[in-house]
């Protein structure tokens, strides 16, 4: 793996500027991923900068055209440019992904930290709850929510958020328990520090370290799940340009106009991959700095 090595400059030597050192230690693949992510961010915040056509404009003369120089990703059944529609839908897709991830991690933090710090009873109860939630496949749980609460963007966010929370909660709980049993926590106890101080200074900061990584990886996964639901017709409805909705709309055209189905999927995959690469790099950095001697 591309773990940057931590070299210590000799005392007295001038330390290189932190940004230069950072740039030098980042491998090429991560740089590429960052560029892709930046592209999507721009697409979300300022779509007009990247679009080639007006996403709403229909052109019945150019219906169901394959990808070409004129239309990068082809056109749909009313002649609208697929590429531009994709860009247009970025904001909503990212919004759903971020919302679901925020909900998911919020729940996970609450459950995981309570289970880890709360004593044997709290831990037992929450662990059982998590075990049960884990027994439901994520999609099934999400579908249960959609059944009960109906199809809407809010339900989508809640369904994906609640569906992915148990996994993260378990990870956080494990992390908190591991830190609790660590040697430095006992050493702090032996020094006479109060429990609140130990939690504040040692347990929480060390246990939450992997959270940044979880957040990055989580956004990718949330978008994948949300679009999965949309693919089944249970997400945002067409004619919204949201990626999942595009997937749903493209389903009936798979044999005739494959680009309507494959391209939105490509956007989702590109986003998820770049976010995963960055997340794993962050994880490597975290472990490289804090790892074993």
């Amino acid at each position: 793996m591309n773990t940057p090595t931590l070299t210590l400059p000799a005392p007295g030597a001038r330390r290189p500027h932190p940004l230069t050192a950072l740039a030098a230690s980042v491998p090429g693949s991560v740089g590429l991923a960052g560029a892709v992510l930046l592209f999507f961010l721009v697409a979300a915040l300022w779509p007009q900068a990247l679009q080639t056509h007006d996403p709403l404009q229909m052109d019945l003369a150019a219906v169901l055209q394959a990808p070409s120089a004129a239309h990068l990703f082809g056109t749909d059944q009313t002649g609208r440019d697929t590429y531009s529609r994709l860009i247009e839908g970025t904001r909503q897709s990212l919004g759903i992904g971020l919302g679901a991830t925020a909900l998911s991690l919020g729940l996970a933090l609450l459950l995981g930290v309570t289970a880890g710090l709360g004593g044997r009873v709290a831990d037992a109860v929450i662990s059982r709850v998590l075990d049960v939630l884990f027994a439901f496949p994520t999609l099934f749980l999400a579908l249960l929510f959609v059944t009960v609460f109906g199809v809407s963007v809010a339900t989508l966010i809640v369904a994906v958020g609640v569906g992915t929370a148990p996994g993260y909660a378990r990870m956080i709980r494990g992390q908190v328990l591991a830190v609790r049993g660590a040697g430095y926590v006992e050493a702090a106890r032996a020094l006479g520090h109060a429990p609140a101080r130990i939690v504040r200074q040692h347990i929480l900061p060390n246990a939450i370290r992997p959270l940044v990584v979880m957040l990055t990886l989580g956004v990718g996964q949330s978008i994948v799940w949300a679009s999965g639901l949309a693919f089944l017709g249970l997400g945002v409805a067409p004619p919204s340009p949201e990626w999942g909705a595009l997937l749903d709309a493209g389903r009936s055209y798979v044999t005739r106009a494959w680009w309507l189905e494959v391209m939105p999927g490509l956007a989702i995959v590109a986003f998820a991959l770049s976010v995963t690469v960055i997340g794993r790099h962050l994880q490597d950095r975290l472990e490289g700095k804090v790892g074993r001697p």
Binding site: Y184, A187, Q201, P293
Partner: protein, 556 residues
Amino acid sequence: MTAARDALPAAPADILLRVDNLTVSFGQGPAVVRGVSFSLAPGRCLAIVGESGSGKSVTARALVGLAGPRASVQADGLAFGGEDLRRFADRDWRRLRGKHVGFVLQDALVSLDPLRAVGDEIGEGLRLHGEAGSRAQRQARVVELLERVRVPEPAVKARQLPHELSGGQRQRALIAAALALDPQVLIADEPTTALDVTVQAQVLELLEETRARGKALIIISHDLAVVSRVADEILVMRHGEVLERGSPAEIFGAPRHPYTRRLLDAVPSAHSRGTRLAPASAPRWAAPTGSPAAPSGLTPPVLSARHLVKRFRGPDGVARTVVRDVSFDLQAGETLGIVGESGSGKSTVARIALALETPDSGAVTLHGQPWSAVTERERRPRRRGISVIYQDPLSSFDPRWTVERLVEDSLGPDPADRAQRSARVSELLDLVGLPAAFRHRRPIELSGGQRQRVAIARAIAPEPRVIVCDEPVSALDVSIQAQVLDLLGDLKAQLGVSYLFISHDLGVVHHLSDRVLVMNQGEVVESGAVDEVFLTPRAPYTQRLVAAVPRLHRAG
């Protein structure tokens, strides 16, 4: 046995292994082994001694072609029984390994496959080299081998997994595996490290027997005393080079190289009490020498334990009594050593003394006030009076913190002023011999000895009266160990603290302690002044323990 030791070196025709100017390097880096030469004849034992980084292990592994994936091995001559090892391809090495050269690694718990039966591991060599025919014949041979290394109930043990055997049995099984094909040479890399003293003695006996049967032996070790018993020739290595070679009598009686002399001086024992182990350049201030002052019996003990009992429930649900009716007193300004093998309960006693465990019955008092019987809330402000130094300091440091923050954190509420606190941290770092530049480093960037100094600085920061030392030097090289022991002695003289010193190493305990407790399986078997207990032991266990410790016989 003595006759073989004093015999002249064997005639060239008898030489099994010849190594001439061996050099090993990894990638572009400097050579890890440089210019090592020796020869080995049947029935002779060669010991390669050195501290970590000396290149002794790499040398041994280069002899079987396992120096490492990116190692480049060069030599003017490297021959085994007439075959030139420098020309060996992978197939040739596989033919050599096991059949002609047996190799024993340290720590059988990780050197035997934990998921396979011990018998399978031993028989694997037989199978690979096509010996001992059918499966039944192999199994019979395995049982025979286990018998030879004196593992009880060999047929039963052969079917068990490594963790079901005791430490000593495991190590002997590992040796049996190396001897399975009756190789001419046996190489043992740190065969006695991580073993209890009594088990060490058994393993050494086994190695001696192997040599007596006509095999050539190479022993790699960091422990001079261990090899002094078995070796015919000793090579002292440092930074990849052989600094000195000779028979044990020559090396121990009249060492020529200053490093060898330093190494011998650094070994703590009964003879080194009251003296510095490391060269005088190590400490940062002049400190009084001579035996530590005997404490007066009039002041109340700073730490006192009565009838401690502690039981633990194992993963199989069975309750084991780890500490049985242990009582002791620690007087002001004295060092009380607790010595025992693994499973003796000494670490648990230390934890009870620190109130990190509560005893099932019995009580501990600190400075005359109840310590184990009160609530944690009452104890907390008093915890400054007692601190701890662990064997592995790294795990007791928050991985994100710098040295400065670690020491400052243990200062306590005063001084409240930031400048004063910073000054105090500087003082403490100075006291333990750490340069000021280390303040901003993280412990992970420091060496083992430096980390232990940080741990000591942190332990003395709250100005305690008692410091519990749980195997503080066991993981350190001999020369670093010497420096840390000197530091502990200096601090005691300067600050007047009392030490509760836990260790399995009798030499270290004898060097540092005033009185000692000998523990075995949870009980205090014997206690008293350290000279009395170690030089004239009364309890049979203590006698066995003392007899098993390998001794360095030095002239003068």
